[in-house]
Symmetry: C2
Subunit: 330 residues, 2 copies
């Protein structure tokens, strides 16, 4: 059987281009005992993959490597007693249409009535990132002001809603009026800023946050973060969940120094990694499912159809093509 | 009775100058019930006073204000049942040779055999800052690498020694070979860097810290901090206790962006304010006294003699004139 795959042909310089990827084909061997043949159904594309291409996220992705990320797949054939044909599983999988995989490192997905793609979004690492990063580092208190950058993205859109559930005033920053409309009208954000059309983001923050900013949930870094951090209150918390504005930098970017503000205002700035919370995933999923079931949480998935769309979907992350989680249905 | 005082004549632009201060005289009223007449003995000069002059540390110091800081004084006359002539007290006091003060807001100092000036250094807010900032934010573990900037200063010299007591490898950064000699030969630092004569501080850090930096205890900010933070390990902690390199900036300084590093390495960067630890001062003083009594902790005080030296002592902080705590004996 032939497996179609997508490989990193070359390391991107700046924003990734289609030419950095190449499609290949490989004849699969027979399924051995303990293994299963998988057909991938949904593959997650995420900004952190760009950091891997820069050697800044471990392990790195190098030219010649088959791309890989979190994915949902179906068992097509099995030589493992643990899995049956038709079972749905999740794992970090190579970007292939079919692949052979050891059954032990696959997570069997429950048939719980939620769409399968949810395991890569609201009930997966992005929903869990929003939940743990906001509650554990941000520690929101009712009445506080929370600003979210990348607010219409997979993590930001959930973090903002959880902030609302915890009684915060929530301001979202995103890059299109369509996204802002969604944040405010559908998700209940209290205020929104279009960073592409707002000449002075610091002034917009000051205007929307007359009591200052207590928590900044940051997915983007760069000039947007400079503007927000300048408006933090004493004892403010900056939850650094991503820094997409910097991932394509070809040289070290400069910006206003943060350390004087940190000491003047006793700020906390902390980086977040979802894999540090593995032991608490069940708790997080239970909470997110409860909010979903109660209609208190909404989510969006931008699903591109077709295995061949994987590079385009990934590149689209850096153009803000996604509303909520970007996923490829293979 | 006449009180001699030092007033802020004008807000400094850049590094404070002698001309920013003016000496004045004021006739004191009679001591009223509940009040005492104090003679100041030791006055602390500290970098944070510069931040007050920039409105960045609350409450601000404005032109026309009498300067004030932590000081030790002796009760000369009393109309309070709580205090007797000869009692030694500590408080935030105006820079005056004699002053009248409400007895209630004065801390009576114990006659515990330690020099009175120690209440402004090793047993005062600088020793306590080193202890609480390092243990509570830095959370040192045996075998970790700790880098201290401003290492020969009041806080840094104690923080480095506490790091050694907790089993860390400790590297100190300071601005003269005499200071480095003291850090290494007397205080037991494992390695030292003279930031004034080292062209590539990042390379020096890499050389002295082959296993990377786990904790950075920062008193200075600026380019030194850029170099150290670039070498932090995953889950590194940056304790921001001061940012003296920035206090005299007349415009917002720029430097390499920190947020990408924060997310790539899951760094914690946290600002520290000693007054947040008021309820734990007794615990900290007890621990510091125990280490002192056991000969495990050394400290330095740079004492300038004469009330009139206050401006010079304060300005000297920005030239690195002090080894350990800068204090004026009035």
């Amino acid at each position: 059987m032939t497996s179609k795959l997508i490989m990193l042909a070359s390391l991107p310089q700046g924003v990734p281009q289609a030419a950095n990827f190449i499609t290949g084909f490989e004849e699969l061997p027979d399924v051995e005992p303990g293994e299963v043949l998988l057909k991938t159904l949904f593959i997650s594309v995420d900004p952190y993959l760009r950091a891997k291409m820069a050697g800044e996220h471990q392990p790195p992705l190098n030219a010649g490597d088959v791309m890989y990320s979190r994915a949902v797949a179906e068992v097509v054939a099995t030589k493992s007693p643990d899995l049956q044909p038709g079972d749905k599983v999740m794992a970090f999988l190579e970007w292939r249409d079919y692949l052979i995989h050891n059954s032990e490192s696959l997570t069997l997905l429950p048939n719980n009535g939620f769409p399968l793609s949810n395991h890569l979004s609201i009930l997966g690492s992005t929903g869990l990132s929003a939940y743990f990063a906001l509650t554990d580092i941000g520690k929101p208190k009712a009445g506080e002001t929370l600003v979210v950058s990348g607010a219409a993205g997979a993590v930001g859109s959930i973090a903002g809603q959880i902030g609302k559930l915890m009684g915060c005033k929530v301001i979202g920053i995103a890059g299109s009026d369509e996204k802002l409309q969604w944040l405010q009208a559908d998700l209940g954000f209290d205020g929104v800023i279009n960073y592409k059309t707002t000449p002075d983001i610091a002034a917009a923050i000051a205007n929307l946050c007359p009591d200052g900013v207590d928590i900044y949930f940051d997915n983007v870094g760069g000039a947007i973060s400079d503007a927000v951090i300048g408006k933090m209150n004493n004892y403010g918390r900056v939850v650094v969940c991503g820094s997409i504005a910097s991932y394509n930098d070809t040289s070290a970017a400069t910006g206003p120094r943060l350390l004087p503000l940190v000491v003047y205002k006793q700020l906390l700035i902390q980086g977040f990694l979802i894999t540090d919370y593995k032991t608490r995933f069940a708790e997080g999923i239970a909470q997110l499912q409860q909010w979903l079931a109660a209609g208190k949480l909404q989510y969006a998935e931008t699903i591109m159809n077709g295995f061949d769309k994987l590079p385009e979907a990934f590149i689209g992350l850096f153009n803000g093509d996604n509303q909520g989680k970007m996923i490829v249905k293979t």
